[in-house]
Symmetry: C2
Subunit: 242 residues, 2 copies
DNA sequence: CTTCTATACTGGTATAGACCACTGAACCAC
DNA sequence: GTGGTTCAGTGGTCTATACCAGTATAGAAG
């Protein structure tokens, strides 16, 4: 099972092994995992080495340790999803709604000022503009205007954004993983254009969201302005004291 | 410095000691802290014990470890403040504005349905209702309606909420620390009452926030509905992938 | 001067052993 | 049955030691 001559440390190999047992469902939440002494005998390693693996997994939230009782597989956290970074598609699915999209604009443009600042680029840099009407159960919910910039961004012009989500295309084809986003959320009255596209009344309120999204290396690759129908959408957030 | 007979573990005492050095500013971000071997000699403890203290502080983000170089005080994170739990007062101060409050209602009531569910109480339970007009630089920004419930909540009726923030009173006098909050943020048109109090035009948009706040033991103690002037306030949030 | 090398640091990993505090069950006395 | 004790097993703490891997520097070699 564990290779003492492997370049990776033993405790790390053990962590991966335990992680796999949990991910595969072989060990379910609430199950007791082998004790430190059992693991150290079974794998012929020191108790402290086994302990390091268990402790780190406990810190990561996968295990729960109880003095005098044992170490158990932790219950999966419910909390998240409120402060987790997702796109419209995943957001709607989490709400139990069928997401959809109608592409309105998809073209190479020179960036407007706000997008330029958000994406930290010069005025000459060409970016991709993607405007989509977002649907839930076939009904218009939001108007999303995305400004995208990264090496080779032009290739996006040939993608199908009506049947695939932006984030899934970016991660699968372009190896860009959204890692962090900062949003500003405000209220406003809808514009005439929004009124027509979202099929709402004149002077109806909308929730406006301006989001800058950063990739796994901390580089901003997306600046999106959205207008959500106020009667169909609320933004959920979780705050912590720490 | 460290007491080996103290009920608290040595590594824990050492952690607190190091934490204090950092909090007091004696050690500044980027400074190198004593090496594991130095600490073990200085305090006559095992290197592994010193190591545990340093490792845990590194996990918490206070220290940064570099193999071959040493252990350093970490740069304070900028990120937070966006997803950190604060009340109106602290929020405004963070935006560089002078906060204020005008109490409109402060009374003991039977809870409305939404407050009942949020606070997980029965219809007979009396709660304190606190309605405040919130100001920034003397100008109305938001109308906050707070429903409060905890043992001895009636005492709040005698507090001065115009010169002290709710959260500061709760933590200083009632030992209630806001630890976590869940919010739903939506857009809407202002009501007639809000229009008058906030001094905005008829049909002006407002940002509505419904917040449930939990104390350090995970018990909900506050349910607040707020209406913010859309022209003066945007909500900021940070999202992470993990 | 540059380049290599030895050396003395740093944190990272791993061992073996010891004692503590807590839990739960088995057992015994009443 | 009730209440206490004993005991084995668990994680928590701590020691002492060893070697590995990465970093910086001083000094030797070119």
């Amino acid at each position: 099972m564990l290779d003492k001559n492997h370049p990776l440390p033993i405790y790390f190999q053990l962590k991966e092994l335990l992680r796999e047992k949990i991910a595969s469902g072989e060990w379910k939440p609430g199950d007791m995992v082998p004790s430190e002494r059992e693991l150290s005998e079974q794998f012929h390693i020191s108790r402290m080495t086994a302990r390091q693996a268990l402790s780190e997994l406990a810190t990561e939230g996968l295990l729960r340790r109880e003095q005098g009782r044992g170490t158990f597989v932790a219950e999966p956290k419910i909390e998240h999803g409120l402060t987790r970074l997702t796109g419209f598609t995943e957001d709607m699915k989490a709400r139990g709604l069928r997401p959809g999209a109608r592409v309105i604009r998809l073209e190479l443009i020179t960036p407007p000022l706000l997008a330029m600042q958000a994406l930290q680029i010069s005025p000459e840099t060409k970016i991709v503009l993607l405007e989509r009407l977002r649907l839930a159960e076939g009904e218009p919910i939001a108007l999303e205007t995305s400004h995208l910039h990264f090496p080779g961004v032009e290739a996006l012009l040939n993608e199908d954004f009506e049947n695939h989500s932006l984030y899934s295309i970016l991660s699968e084809k372009y190896q860009i993983t959204p890692a962090r986003a900062v949003q500003k959320i405000g209220a406003d009255l809808c514009s005439q254009r929004e009124q027509a596209l979202l099929n709402i009344g004149e002077g109806a309120p909308v929730l406006r969201n301006k989001r800058i999204t950063y990739d796994q290396w901390g580089r901003p690759f997306e600046y999106t302005e959205s207008a959500y129908r106020a009667d169909r959408y609320v933004f959920q957030a979780e705050l912590n004291a720490s």
